[in-house]
Point group: C2
Chain length 311, copies 2
């Protein structure tokens, strides 16, 4: 069993943030490559109206392919009940909902207040219980570490919202640094409080590298016991409705850190680096980031997760 | 008093790694801007033969200017006794010597084995005692976390070399990730051992961001009690004699991390970002890195070190 779960968000978070639309065929090839590298949770799509996010118009088709991959937890973002219905119809294993701690960002992102979004969590939790009780429901608290619209976000607001999401039926509640404002001291403080308040429901760390601290913030979260980390291959992504949000943590660099530390991810680094090719092929001209990919693995590097272990 | 000391290495480590030579006048303006931002230790030059490193031919002139800046500790790299003599003549406050834990890198870098370099430390320590006993002597253990030539570097070799440097007269011994191989677990382990072995002589962390872990490694070192961090404005630098070495930790991002965490650096972030202008002006066309500079400071950001505190 890997010691940490890397949850790849590129096919949703990444692809919805770029102007171009990756053709479906390329998406499937990219997801196949991610799965082949050992990723076991991938956020593959967002179920939103195609007129708002044409990049996600093929969400159902992508999900229907992804669920055929053995051992993969297929996750989709849903902002509301209608999206959840469509995602469940397509057969997802896990729903994730963006619940922003900043009212300004919440209104810009989903046209609902944080309190209204908690009610959406409740409605979707009930829908899930009726239609597909085995499906997991995650709430990601956006702008948990600050907001480009509002500025500071009170830690009490974040924790209260997380508790409300659990009460409304969310299985996991993660914290997202949507705009790259977080620092390691804050990450430690907030995840410690989150764990104290909601225990086993405390979920993933979703960090951005906007100001260069993404990986350090993941380390800080790991130190506090977080074991699920969102990341995006090639650092693709951000939030189109949060000005200045850019730079998801680069999956390759994060996996390199954990494997180098002796913390197993279940991911084969060489195959993960190879998964950059279908990403680049599907989005010609789009910049793809990552320091490990550029520098290569260290001489004599021995990851905890080898190809043999995978086999 | 600042809680951490950021030791700026750009004018030496950075400038000797690029092809172009920054004109002396520009170096002085850049160092002035770094000092104005609150930096209180700057490695301003390397005393090596100008035919080997023409970028450093004006070392003495740069030192003579830098020592006029109030409160600044002026440091220079010296590979041997002759360089040390010249640096002391110019009036430096601190000497730093590269002592590589990898014999292959040591020979490539200074054409001496690690053991021979310890003897250089002893010779320079004695010279310093005769000529300028108030001058501080630092040994930086290069390739302490791995080497692109040798691969793995035994931790026992690193610690033994550090102890030998202290016995030879070094006041401080730091650990350098010359080629960007380090990971946070290794950083914690090695600095813990270093402190256990040489106590107050344990010195700076010199990290590279070659594989994206530079800032996380600084955080790991901070957690272990390290309070001096080398960094380079705009991430300039590397080592010309270590293939694949690139990307010093970016001063701006590191200062942002500490200030955001509430750890004072004594550095004014706005003025630090402004110090990128004279760097860029002196090295036209050279890429300058840094995420914080690109993204800007967070809305509502309140650093621990304000302009008023500086005044």
């Amino acid at each position: 069993m890997p010691q940490v779960l890397i949850s790849e968000v590129g096919p949703r978070d990444g692809l919805q943030s770029v102007k171009a639309t990756m053709p479906t065929e390329h998406k499937l090839r990219w997801i196949d490559a991610l799965h082949a590298a050992g990723l076991r949770e991938i956020e593959v799509a967002s179920f939103v109206p195609a007129r708002l996010l044409p990049q996600m118009a093929d969400a159902a088709e992508v999900v229907r392919h992804a669920i055929t991959l053995p051992g993969l937890v297929v996750m989709a973002l849903v902002p509301n009940r209608k999206g959840a219905q469509a995602a469940l119809d397509a057969g997802v294993h896990k729903l994730t909902m963006p619940v922003s701690a900043s009212p300004a960002h919440s209104l810009a992102n989903v046209r609902k207040t944080p309190t209204e979004m908690v009610e959406e969590v409740r409605a979707i939790s009930e829908l899930r219980r009726e239609l597909a009780p085995q499906v997991r429901l995650e709430a990601g608290i956006s702008t948990a570490f600050g907001c480009t619209l509002q500025g500071l976000v009170a830690e009490d607001d974040v924790i209260r919202l997380a508790v409300q999401c659990v009460e409304a039926g969310a299985d996991d509640v993660g914290l997202s640094d949507t705009v790259g404002y977080a620092n390691p001291a804050q990450v430690r403080r907030l995840f410690r409080r989150l764990r104290a308040e909601i225990g086993v429901h405390a979920g993933a760390a979703h960090m951005h590298n906007t100001r260069g601290l993404g990986i350090a913030n993941c380390l800080a979260a790991f130190d506090e016991g977080v074991r699920t980390f969102d990341a995006s291959l090639g650092g693709l992504g951000g939030c189109p409705y949060a000005p200045g949000a850019s730079g998801n943590v680069v999956t390759e660099d994060l996996v390199f850190m954990f494997e180098a530390m002796g913390v197993s991810t279940g991911i084969d680094l060489d195959k993960l680096l190879a998964a950059r090719a279908p990403l680049a092929a599907g989005l010609p001209g789009e910049p793809v980031y990552g320091m490990t990919a550029e520098a290569g693995l260290p001489k004599g590097f021995a990851p905890t997760t080898s190809t043999q272990q995978q086999a």
